[in-house]
Symmetry: C2
Subunit: 507 residues, 2 copies
Amino acid sequence: MNRRGRARESKRQQRLAGGRAAHPPIGPGLTGGTYRPLSCDDVDRLHDAALTVLEDLGMADAPQFLVESATARGAVHGSDGRLRFPRSLVGEIIEGAARRFVLYGRRSHHDLEISGQRVHYGTGGAAISILEIGTTNFRPSLLTDLYDFARVADQLPNVHWFTRCLIATDLPDPLDLDINTAYALVAGTTKHVGTAITVPENVTPVIELFDLAAGGTGAFAERPFCKLHSSPIVPPLRYGGDACDTLREAVRQGMPITAITAGQAGATSPASLAGTLVQTHAETLAALILVNLIEPGHPMIFSNWPFVSDLRTGSMVGGSPENAVLNAAAGQLAAHLGLPSGVAAGMADSKLPDVQAGYEKGVTTTLAGLAGANLIYESAGMLASLLAASLEQFVIDDELLGTALRTIRGIEVTDETIGLEAISEAVLGPGHYLGSAQTLALMETEYLYPALGDRRTPDEWTRSGSHDARHVAGEHIDELLANPAEHLDPDNDAAIRERFDIRLAHL
Amino acid sequence: MNRRGRARESKRQQRLAGGRAAHPPIGPGLTGGTYRPLSCDDVDRLHDAALTVLEDLGMADAPQFLVESATARGAVHGSDGRLRFPRSLVGEIIEGAARRFVLYGRRSHHDLEISGQRVHYGTGGAAISILEIGTTNFRPSLLTDLYDFARVADQLPNVHWFTRCLIATDLPDPLDLDINTAYALVAGTTKHVGTAITVPENVTPVIELFDLAAGGTGAFAERPFCKLHSSPIVPPLRYGGDACDTLREAVRQGMPITAITAGQAGATSPASLAGTLVQTHAETLAALILVNLIEPGHPMIFSNWPFVSDLRTGSMVGGSPENAVLNAAAGQLAAHLGLPSGVAAGMADSKLPDVQAGYEKGVTTTLAGLAGANLIYESAGMLASLLAASLEQFVIDDELLGTALRTIRGIEVTDETIGLEAISEAVLGPGHYLGSAQTLALMETEYLYPALGDRRTPDEWTRSGSHDARHVAGEHIDELLANPAEHLDPDNDAAIRERFDIRLAHL
């Protein structure tokens, strides 16, 4: 075979293997919005009811700094200790909030432009256990697992950023945990990352580590490549003390904020879906007020993540259709205000990468994206209602998110795509479209080819070993983990290790 | 325990078991339409392009009876043999077509009201193999399999009708096949059914069998409980001779028609998604013309089912995101014309009830329903790109369709569901919503509880045996097949067996 033949064959093999095309049909930042679970009138009523809640009921346990800055802007701190926000103040805060910004990667091709209804999928979560590959066994999650997830995330095209998805349960000390979590993120991937920080005083050392990773003091502030995941609200309608202080410190040091409200319908928010949206939307607005009174216009993802209770048992549910519509609607409410939104999807209740996990994840992630939420968290790797993470599920989810992205891209209708000429040529000519100029031109750009998904006939599939999708994913994981991660300059790595107690062995 | 205690306990058990509530949150006929893959302008352009195709290119191989009736109404039969339809004629046909009708069950509580964007899920297909329960083995599908599928369908709440989903490959003779297929349907379920009929002369005996099943001559015509699945179009843009004749006979005898157009993008329809929609929409309009020129206003499901080719191999693909958006868009195009629509979804390419099947099915069925298609075919039991059927997958799909239906129901926004009073009471009272009056009132009506899906913690799940969803489905199938089907009056059954060569053993 000559060189040209080899190139052609290589391209053919790449296609057969589902390799990425030169002009892939999908990518980060496709525009959603074709799914609108709420009518315009619904949106207005829910937002208005949320404003009523903030005005009449307000929030308990506001930190003193917020009481001072909010009352100076017209909020009322009642004798019952609740801080009430007049409609006009909420309106001013929304008006002044950041509407578009970049979430930086450590390499610029990973930068994410957050605006409009541009959709991105990524991770989130705080799993405490790992489903071991090829088994039904769960074990506590460790720092090395987080590093493995980070370097796999780095290689998955449809995971657009990586927030720590599990807790290193081998690190009980909060500073050890925060520092080593941050280290595992930057050692594993150059994509935009996210993490939680346990206490306010840990913000400075974490950012110091990021500075060292990026080459020196001030490097992080220039391109803040990590957002803080913070839960400054304790539903129903209370601020959470320490979390507010940590958030304030992170804002001051320039970290973008994902301020998460996670009421659980039927437990900490109303059983009625509409009522839950009213409360959680109000609470996320309360977080927006908090951030914007600390620093007007600071980059914040308006992260209204409605969870659901199974009312038979009280336990948290992540993969239900109620989760799907609630989070899609939460995205729609944020979009109505022009605020960058974050929602949660992909939180399967199943314990395994099985058919249940497949539809729970497929439906929730696709609807969140079609609704045009900007950042879709928890969308890869999670099982067991967020209690567990799985590497096999992680790579399967990457493929599933490709599917979701292709639906978001949708159908372009132009004279060229309608292509009356192409129809006429095929009908009056060969009677089919196989190998036509149009077909060849669109082959790599109009269609998504699965990397793991099986499209063979039963006979072909049987002859190759009758493997299910989980098995195929397990083999793919082996390949991905075998690739070296080279995301820290050795000098920077050495500087980090000199300054901090890093528990990951030398890479 | 006294009687009241037992009743309460039984209700509790039923809830825990995911039993159906008195006011279930879902059912047949929920209204879709919140997902709109096409803009209004896109819809107008695609429909207009389809009218251009029918006017300029027209259809080849029109049967003589159609040439005569169509040219009498202004169509032009060209010297190239193509029958061209002017825009005005197509407009008149659409105007006069049936817009709402009932698809009858053999029992009236199974009647389906087809109108607006009311959504129903059911089966379709012509699988030739069966995935054996608990294995990775495929074997040819048999008449007894069809009967098993029919009686399981009868018991699945989210399978709203049952079209034969597999071919009894043990019956090579067309009359044997058509008669015994019809028999297996009515012996297995009283839901609305559907079947194909091989040749025109088999229509009369099939309807004779239906009359005998329903109690005598003319009984079927009074409440036609079976629709014909017909493919009168051979893409691109040709009528198919025999199928048109069979369709004509069925229309004359009062069978509702599902006229299916199934172009395969990249092979028999354009590789461009927009181009495929133009062609398949035009072809389904050509079927509408055919039916309405035989009998104006005859009940027809406008069944534009765009399929997709994997352009690497040419093979048919059913579970791709391109399938999802194309079929949702096909439903939207039909709704734009006010025509009862049928689309295809749930056609997994996976060979097993695994995570791949889960997301392929979850995404395609949910988007078709949210788009407001009236009848969603192929939505349960199918695997391997329609080549195979699986009973385990059938019951899993029933649950998955429940999920889809719950998303279609969506979120009701009223003063009562917003419930500012309930929020105030919880926030100023106990600080949670557990056990509140609103929570108890909504427990059975707002939430769907899975019958098979697992929501336990990893620990609870491990203690109970670590089963995946397929295993649980297999156990459920055993229970369903153990229930006797009593859908034929013994006298009617005897009359059928006297008149026809029935190959199913006495039930």
